[in-house]
Symmetry: C3
């Protein structure tokens, strides 16, 4: 009975035109040119490598894309159970009528060639967007991105600030900041002016959010101007030699300053909490990061109390932190639950995390899903996965367990899937 | 199939007359006088505030109750998905024949007036108790509560000890202790006599438990009399200026002394573990507390080993601590799993936590549920939520997964729902 | 519908002949002689004790086995809900045609006698193995086990190293090492030669793994030969008086040296992470250990990076660590998810942990289950529990949620249940 109900709810959710609130799309080349862009992404290379495929076979310099796909397909046997693998198969079936369940050494080449041909057509980007029912996609822009050459109404700028907060000691970062703002970063005040300039640039280009990914031990706190003066002077240009306490003070100061500017420009500040970079030192590109799940949102107590008029859409990397995210979104008006991130973006975790969110967080404070995608082709299968799970949770925990009508459950699904993205990021205005 | 089975199990569980092992009922005004007592409680004010309703609109001094309800109802749209909202709707439907699914600006006033009228009747308290099938409710009494003016057979006294353990440095607390016991608290010995007096008073009034809520980092240990002498002298009357190490020693000493008196008087000592008070500094009244979920029950190793003849009904605030609670109840004879507390009192967490408890903890050591309610009207809907989940877990994990008969599953349900409350708190005697 | 599907999948999984990758079987007396060997095991004594049965009634010196079983049965009422109890009942029903659901003071004696009679037959061990479809069982051998007197093709040696890593300061441990290797342990170099000898002995006897159980705070790191020289000299013979920093250095050195020898001999190194020994000081034998669940696999970062050519089958004691195990197995080629250990070996945790593993870890890197059993009789019921859950997860999350065919789901089940045990532990070679 519940399977029928799920299907009906899914069908209706699947009609909704979507806005993706977080992605890593390059707006100047949003879609893929060959299957190598998709299968060569860390989703598949890290799994093949983990299952035994040597890194140098995958990341051989100058490797022809088609040869790369051939090699990967030969090693895909062990990863056919993964949800990531199912994203590719669903995409290939829906967009290219791929008739099989698995990619094999026999059937991959025909798919590769027909895909390459189709992708070469000018309308491929529009086709993927239309088939995925995506009318807006948030980007993740470096702070010195000129934001030129694309429709910022469709590809919505978002100021990514990891470099500013954690790598200000690097010469390269300061140079980029100086080039982007025309301000010579001599100390705290110059830095603050530069930050103002960045925000003005991004807001003028229609940016709708600021974002940052944070390590598990980050506990942001206010830093006085005096302390910041010293810290920033001490770290500029020092790179790894910068003293830890100065780096710590500078990071907190910059982070706090970003929150102040989010308040000023009314921009939500996406916090993506709990990643440790480069844990697997010799992993494939973008296949090295993991995490320490011993995190608490109490580390953000000062921030949430100090910036009550800044909205913080929060993602947590570990599902064991989801209950705190539910409770902090339940209590703090400025904390919002935001999607299912990376290692928690698989059905078992999405289902349990989403069920807990939908029954305790006010419905206007749950942003259902973002794709985190690097190429447009991932949009349809990843959102489809989420919509199936949303339909399952609505069917089982609202219609069956709590006696809701199908319509009322659908209302909640639409609010979480689309409504809140608009209201929280102020897309209408 | 399983939905039918669930319904049958629920119907039978729903016949059981209950005793609520933990609540915050004021026995001298146990039921509400208007819907404002219910909808004005933090369950709803914290959610409305979190969804955007300004605190001063909710907590305007001298606000007329009906006006307060009108304002809240206007802001209830965003919280209609929450399980807390469903408690109110189920109560209104069952007790006042409320015909709708949602409270709206159109239908709230008629309900408010008919409720006020009904609640004004003398038999309202009896009616609510009868409809909820509640024949006993544990209270949470301040240590200086005279326990006069109510039937302690129905409203069962329980000595709440947070103030004694954590706020002995406050002058107000010592004054209340002196007034309650007639003993001048000059130091450790006087304090111990005062504690004896409190226990004698409570036991004489039929108290069946001692209780305390504990922060996530509490790790109780034995403190020698000499150390306690110094610590207590140092903190008396000092308030916040009391030295941290003395406060720490005094807290542990008082806590250990309470456990000793629980042993002496054969009183279970409810430990409610893992709350951080006042995390959201400007939240609504009672809507400020949250938690750090990085807790382990190994912090209670010394306590459980030292007081093997004291029963500790343990509640954990974070669901990530539930497995430890299951394992420690599986191994330590004096540890008992006690209900689903606050942020873990929503269906998704109750279901997973209960399933883990019922398959690994001896069935005589699982106290199913307590309402933690502040007004009687919450009893029926909160117990109904739990009974539906208990029926679901029994149906799916015992009848279907393990081939149990319906009767055998029902037996387990009755034991957990009522039997253990009697045996563990010695209600029969 | 899904219940039917589950049954079909279970039936087919139940035909598979198994190899148990981790147990505590004594190969010289693998099966029980009376029910006392089974019901007298900590699985049941710790639960009966936890439910109120005094330890001295259970562990009375010289207690006649049948009398022990009588006493236990009298106290089994409170533990009839536990999954451990169901293992015994299922075994009794399948192997002895026990017709009831519960063991009672009326029906236990007939079962005891018929079992004792049957167990006394020479073919009992073969019968149990055949009925359990077990053709290989990994042992847990002390480092000084001569590995004589049994078929190492069936009972597969595995070098257990807890004593070497954590108890080298004990005179008894050094004496056993000296007796086993004929090398006088004067310092680091002698110790290394002794370790080489142990590995050669075990490998010559067909050992297929090395294993260790680790406390929650263990974070292995490289220790230089010089530091090890000092540390080992300082702790030899000192027992508990050995200085903590020297014990710490020695533990890490020995652990690192074991990993080096696993690399050299191509042996997987089973890491069983997260147990605190003797938490309940006066518990029954083997019923004293519990855990602090605040663990992260980032503590093993150095180890996993340093030994990329050693396979680490990892078990975690707490289910809250399972997501990290999934993510680290997803990324690190040399990390493999290994079974469901002890406090996580109950259906609710197995189901959620297994679902998360099967959808994100390459299918060749998930070792489905091990029994951890002490007597052969536990094999059938424990594997049956796992196979039912595996069938449920495959039915619901692969066939229903992801549209897989039954055959494809069955393939995955076989790989996880049997295939990977062979490939990961190199059983074929
Ligand atoms: Zn991202
Ligand atoms: Zn309470
Ligand atoms: Zn073991």
């Amino acid at each position: 009975m519940s399977i029928e109900l799920r299907k009906q709810l899914f069908e209706q959710l699947d009609q909704i035109v979507l806005v993706d609130p977080h992605s890593h799309i390059n707006p100047l080349s949003a879609a893929s040119t060959t299957l190598a862009d998709i299968l060569g992404y860390h989703y598949y290379t890290e799994l093949s490598h983990s299952a035994g495929m040597p890194k140098d076979q995958i990341e051989e310099p100058g490797l022809d894309p088609k040869e790369k796909v051939r090699r990967l397909v030969e090693n895909f046997g062990p990863i056919e159970n993964t949800i990531q693998y199912s994203w590719f198969i669903e995409f290939a079936q829906k967009m290219f009528g791929f008739a099989d369940e698995r990619l094999t050494t026999d059937n991959w080449e025909a798919l590769y060639d027909s895909a390459a041909e189709r992708m070469a057509k000018d309308d491929w980007e529009e086709t993927v967007l239309r088939e995925s029912k995506l009318e807006g996609i948030f980007l993740t822009n470096d702070f010195d991105d000129t934001l030129e050459g694309f429709d910022t109404g469709r590809y919505i700028p978002c100021l990514r600030t990891d470099d500013l907060v954690f790598h200000l000691a690097k010469l390269t970062v300061v140079e980029r900041l100086e080039n982007a703002t025309g301000i010579s970063i001599s100390g705290r005040e110059a830095l603050e002016s530069a930050l103002d300039k960045l925000f003005e640039h991004f807001v003028s280009k229609g940016a709708k959010a600021c974002a940052i990914s944070l390590p598990p031990d980050f506990a942001p706190h206010y830093v006085s101007d005096n302390r910041a003066d010293i810290a920033i002077k001490n770290i500029l240009g020092k790179g790894d030699d910068a003293a830890p306490n100065d780096r710590h003070a500078a990071s907190n100061f910059v982070f706090w300053s970003l929150a102040e500017r989010c308040r000023q420009h009314k921009l939500p500040f996406d916090l993506m909490i709990g990643v440790n970079r480069g844990v697997y030192e010799t992993g494939v590109y973008q296949g090295q990061d993991l995490y320490d799940s011993r995190v608490s949102l109490i580390q953000y107590r000062q921030l949430f109390n100090a910036f009550r008029d800044v909205t913080f859409p929060v993602s947590v990397l570990a599902s064991v932190t989801n209950q705190e995210l539910v409770s902090y979104s339940w209590i703090f008006p400025n904390v919002v639950a935001n999607g299912h991130w990376w290692y928690s973006n698989t059905p078992a975790y999405i289902e349990s995390d989403l069920a807990a969110r939908l029954e305790a967080i006010p419905q206007t404070k749950v942003i259902g899903y973002y794709t985190d995608m690097y190429k447009l082709e991932f949009g349809m299968p990843k959102f489809a996965m989420f919509k199936r799970i949303l339909a399952k949770v609505l069917a089982e925990r609202f219609v069956i367990d709590r006696g809701w009508s199908e319509d009322r459950a659908l209302e909640l699904g639409k609010t979480v899937l689309r409504g809140n993205v608009e209201s929280i990021f102020g897309l209408g205005k």
